[in-house]
Amino acid sequence: MRLQRGARAGAIMLLAFVAGLSGLELFLRTTGASAPPFARADTLLGYARIPGASVVYYSDGMRIDRVNWAGLLGPNVAKARKAGVLRVALVGDSFVEGLQLPDPATVRGILERSLRERTGAPVQVIDLGFKAFHFMDFWLVARTLAREWAPDVTLITLRGASFVQDPRRLGPWYYLSGDSIGIDRSFIHSRRYIVGERLSALRRFGLYSLCFRAQWNFAGGWWKTFVFGKAARWVGLVERRFFREQPGKAPVTLDRELVNRVLDDYARWNQEGSLRIVLVDGGDVDPATIDAARRRGLPMIRVGSALDALRARGIDPNFWKAVGFDEHWNAAGQRAVARELARSLLSDGDLPVGRRNVRRISPRAR
């Protein structure tokens, strides 16, 4: 009798728990408090967006959007390009990705508008920015994704932080292999990749909101985050202190030779005409790299002065974070960068001005 009563109470408890979680799930989904993940683990780049996924992003900024059919941010654009359409590919990290602002306020949106106004031609700017990508990832993106879009110009936006690769990140590891660049994709066997994949699979059962949170915790070292909460930060500090010198465990600055190989590739592509690469110095890029790019005849646009001009006027070009490592460009910063890019592209002759020139320069249009 007592056992029966206990079982009944247990069943009611379980039922109430499940009902509560379902209510919570409904709340999280409708309010967007926890959006389903719009990105997934990817075997090529380690990170890819899910085509058609809804984007509800909150961090230093906010964006409510939808990933386009091609897995990119921005409007739906067909890969096949109509004649006369000017196309610019933007390759970079989270600064270019611009998840912090609605599309019209990002570098992509403003650059597209500015170029359209200045050239009078239809312009498409393709956002190939991905958070946490570095110099070598840009090279891989340019080699693979950018080519598919056949742009007139590919802008590769570099920053000081772009020259560090972190072995703890889910993504390929680049190394020198004789005359070529080797790509190690062993990350697909890592625990985090596998767990992330499995958790993503739970989306099929509609558990994505709470699951997203769980996934987040796993990505940050779930046991640390869940058990210690904010103390994870202290644990992380201790970890870094003890394991800093351990090979392969700490972020490392890219080998100079590796950087030079990539710059050689860019110069070669420019000569061949397979891709027109223009480097963008987004700030803090070391002088040796800038010199190396110049020696190879790679065009470079420096947007640092535009950002400095903003600062001189007392306008902060970055989102303000009390504690943070990436201070992304805010609306003012994105606007300044985009306008500087548009101005430089047109004045340096990287892009044609006027419809007649557009038709002439777009033979690659498919």
Binding site: L24, T31, G61, D65, G229, A322
Partner: protein
């Protein structure tokens, strides 16, 4: 000096990080207010943080284990540690306020001469309001006079001080003031125990953001050193659960949207602006009522019953009812210690309206040292005065009393109209400068839709329905502890589900400080 998308103005050096950020007092103060946490710096013990859970895990068992005569001492020590965790220096301010009012009230009680009693009251008022005035309003008045001075070519900028606003100063000042005034009016015997009085001022669950407790209610409970019953513990846990749910899952998530849009309104379209205003109205309610519930629940675990601070204000059918349901401890304080002493409704209808307006104007100023708060208070004063004028000698209706379909429709229309008025006023409360306010108004009025407006509408409906359901549960059951009405297994199941969500969010995102901490 520019206004930042937070709560405090930031000097240009902070904007450009020209200073050493960690040493800069501005950086530190604003970071604490906005982020709730800065590595290497002390912080508020936020209710929605693991530190608070650890704090309670130590204090609560220790309090239960101790003999009764030591319990208040422990609670007092814990309350001071709680406050010192933010900034130990301001503990002395709290202590000073406590000592002044304890001794003044004692002397007042012993003093038979009316004029001397008045003088003692004046000393207490000057001391308390002086401290509050300096820490909270000094720069506000200096800056306001500076603008006037600029017209005549004067430059009084040098008077501007970088004063840190002590957390909870408005709350504990009003609490100690009510004690002294009640003793002066002969409504209360002064406390004989300094320890108990100090605990009344510094009791940690309500120290930093209320409810602004009356000594008549709290002091006798403290003096008795109550033994919490099983009912108290159950109710306490349920209140903490609902409070945490409101704060972490409703308030904080709404706040993320509202904060972003208010920070850079010019990059968002009309639907986003209206949604931000709507979500801010939900955020401030969920945040503050959530805090009050956690405070009440925490106090119940120690056997202390704090007053109810919110009674489903967004279900009010008129503005007078709204103020009877919103931040009840403040509105009743303003009524008893400001509106009634000003004459209340006893000096004619015209004076009543002026009294109402003046009370709300000062109520607005209590919220923050800024003209936007004054305007917000003035707007509510105007609403209340207009409603009072319309009512005449009749009493404002309170709550839904049932009746015909026409009555139901009238009630719903009243609720909608009241909410629209309140929503409009929140714009002045949240937008800290005229430009932002103007931008919001012009872009909402000249409506231009944008992509994803549907998604934003869906989000607003989601939050609105959630808050409505939570309020209706309280409204219909007539209690905040409605979960206690459920059978034990069902209650445990729901509480466990709520805590699953709360913990996942609490530990995986930044703790957002309570909005009212800044007041």
């Amino acid at each position: 000096m520019r206004m930042r998308p937070g709560f405090a103005p930031v000097p240009a050096c902070c904007a450009t990080r020209a200073c050493c950020a960690k040493r800069c007092p501005w950086f530190r103060m604003i970071a604490v207010v906005r982020q709730g946490s800065v590595p290497g710096y002390p912080n508020n013990v936020l209710f929605n943080s693991y530190v608070f859970l650890l704090f309670m895990a130590v204090v609560l068992p220790a309090w239960h284990v101790l003999p009764r005569r030591y319990r208040n001492g422990l609670l007092l020590a814990a309350s001071y540690v709680f406050y010192a965790y933010w900034d130990w220096r301001f503990v002395f301010l709290l202590l000073a306020s406590t000592l002044i009012d304890y001794h003044v009230a004692g002397a007042m009680h012993r003093q038979p001469v009316s004029s001397r009693r008045k003088l003692l009251l004046l000393i207490s008022l000057v001391a308390n309001l002086g401290i509050l005035g300096f820490f909270k309003y000094f720069n506000f008045f200096v800056d306001s006079f500076a603008r006037i001075g600029e017209v005549f070519g004067a430059r009084p900028d040098a008077l501007h001080l970088h004063v840190i606003l002590p957390v909870g100063i408005s709350f504990y000042t009003f609490q100690t003031l009510s004690y002294t005034i009640d003793v002066y009016r002969g409504r209360l015997e002064p406390s004989r125990s300094l320890r108990d009085f100090a605990l009344y001022v510094a009791f940690f669950p309500q120290l930093v953001a209320g409810p602004i407790e009356r000594a008549v209610n709290l002091l006798p409970q403290i003096s008795r050193t109550p033994e919490p019953s099983r009912e108290d513990v159950r109710a306490g846990l349920v209140l903490i659960t609902t409070g945490m749910f409101k704060k972490v899952l409703v308030g904080d998530t709404c706040g993320r949207f509202a904060d972003q849009v208010f920070a850079q309104p010019h990059v968002y379209s009309s639907p986003f602006l209206l949604a931000a205003l709507f979500l801010f109205s939900i955020q401030i309610y969920a945040d503050f009522s959530g805090y009050s519930s956690i405070a009440r629940g925490t106090a119940r675990l120690f056997g202390i019953h704090l007053m109810v601070n919110f009674e489903q204000p967004y279900l009010s059918a008129n503005i007078t009812e709204f103020w009877r349901r919103w931040h009840i401890s403040l509105s009743s304080w303003l009524r008893d210690y400001l509106y009634i002493p000003l004459g209340g409704n006893r000096k004619g209808s015209r004076r009543t309206l002026i009294n109402l307006f003046a009370t709300m104007l000062l109520g607005g100023l209590w919220h923050g040292a800024g003209w936007n708060f004054v305007f917000w208070g003035g707007l509510h004063g105007t609403y209340l005065a207009a409603h009072k004028k319309r009512l005449g000698s009749r009493k404002a209706p309170y709550g839904f009393r049932g009746g015909t379909l026409a009555d139901v429709l009238k009630f719903i229309a009243g609720v909608v109209a009241t909410n629209i008025l309140v929503l409009m006023s929140w714009l002045f409360f949240r937008a800290h400068d005229v430009q932002t306010t103007r931008y919001f108004i012009t872009h909402i009025v000249s409506w231009r839709s944008a992509p994803f407006a549907g998604r934003v509408l869906e989000m607003c409906i989601g939050y609105g329905v959630t808050v409505l359901v939570l309020d209706l549960l309280e409204y219909c059951t007539g209690t905040h502890e409605y979960l206690l009405r459920l059978a034990r297994p069902a209650r445990i199941g729901f509480v466990a589900a709520a805590w699953t969500g709360v913990l996942l969010y609490m530990f995986s995102s930044r703790s957002m400080p309570f909005i009212y901490f800044q007041f």
